[in-house]
Symmetry: C2
Subunit: 204 residues, 2 copies
DNA sequence: GAAAAGTTTAACCGAATGGTTAAATTCGAA
DNA sequence: TTCGAATTTAACCATTCGGTTAAACTTTTC
């Protein structure tokens, strides 16, 4: 089938668009640049995705969707809460270290068009019910301090995401712009964030 | 002097540019829109700030500069650490709640042009030495657990900034897009963040 | 081998945008 | 009142950019 060729090109476009959009955002990206990155020409780019808007929406959906399931699967496991948290934090920090532009991209775009964001969430059926159920469970069982699970989730996300998201700034201000030192710092954080969380929620 | 008129217009421009740039970023902003927002015309806008780039740099510097000093003055006070932290967190969350686009703006732009960021930091002599000195003091005195002060500062910032920065997303996902409920949640967080931090660092 | 789909080339269009210019007008200061 | 700076008006320019088109070519499929 022509499918092999077609699919291949479509993938190349999606890959390229993802790279460019995440790095430069919707406004800062150029269709020509995406075509170049994909190794094709502008005409063909428009042949596959009629408009920039459509292409962007495709990318945003994919990126957004991709971030969540990867990180929620382990929640269903039968591991103790300590292990679950450890895995979650480690995976999240690793993911963001590999995709340094991702947080700024998401943050910018959710402010630019919250309506579209809402649509994406609804369409993909993304919701954190499972996580809450799990946390509530632990509280009921008396293994962790009782609190609003939204607070706890927020804290975990904040502590994991912020240091990677704000890297360019923090690296300059607190690490003399030393890249290696900051990378090491983030590696260590996979541990310290966990400890920090436990210090605050564990019942001793 | 004509200064009154001149200064007034310049201020109007800076105010307008700040509003537009913070909301839409460098790429998404239009000189015409800034002129409109300032209640003047495009010719006059260019008469004051020759290029968009120059105007943007002026704004970025100001915004960046403005965020820090406001929040570090109280560190010099003789209040106990509990009170200092409380004030800091409360002020920071309040500031961001009033300027919801600020974190995304800063985050986007520090990734877009880290070089310029470094220049701004250096030029304005912004550095967190004082904060570290204070934290180290508390550790030496045995009032808080010993740890890398950069970790602690990072945690405070993360817990304060993230929930406000990611508001559009979190409000939809965890609060059914109920604005009032989320505002209340953030108000409560001024307390809970403090408690969360203390639970993890205080020596009991 | 012919039809169809994929791809390139290259030119083009129209709108938006940053920036300029010149002339006229307003206005504050001396 | 006069001079110079501030401001407006309005047209204009060059460039960029998203998007289109048509013709030619290549590749795949049947």
């Amino acid at each position: 089938m022509s499918q092999t060729k077609k699919d291949n090109t479509e993938d190349k476009i999606l890959e390229a668009a993802k790279t460019v959009f995440i790095k430069k955002g919707m406004d800062g990206s150029r269709m020509q640049e995406i075509a170049d990155e994909a190794g094709i020409n502008k005409a063909l780019l428009h042949y596959y995705f009629r408009t920039k808007q459509k292409l962007f929406e495709a990318i945003f959906s994919r990126v957004f969707k991709q971030i969540f399931p990867d990180l929620t699967t382990f929640i269903r496991s039968e591991l103790p809460i300590e292990k679950k948290l450890e895995t979650f934090i480690e995976k999240y920090i690793t993911l963001l270290m590999k995709n340094p532009f991702l947080p700024a991209f998401i943050l910018k775009e959710i402010h630019r068009d919250p309506t579209f964001l809402a649509a994406v969430i609804k369409k993909n059926g993304i919701n954190p019910t499972e996580v809450f159920a799990m946390l509530n469970n632990e509280m009921e069982a008396g293994r962790i301090r009782k609190m609003d699970p939204r607070e706890l989730l927020m804290n975990i996300l904040a502590l994991s995401i912020f240091p990677v998201a704000a890297r360019p700034l923090v690296q300059i201000m607190l690490f003399d712009n030393n890249k290696k030192e900051y990378t090491d710092f983030l590696e260590r954080r996979k541990q310290t964030v966990k400890e920090f969380i436990f210090n605050s929620i564990l019942i001793k």
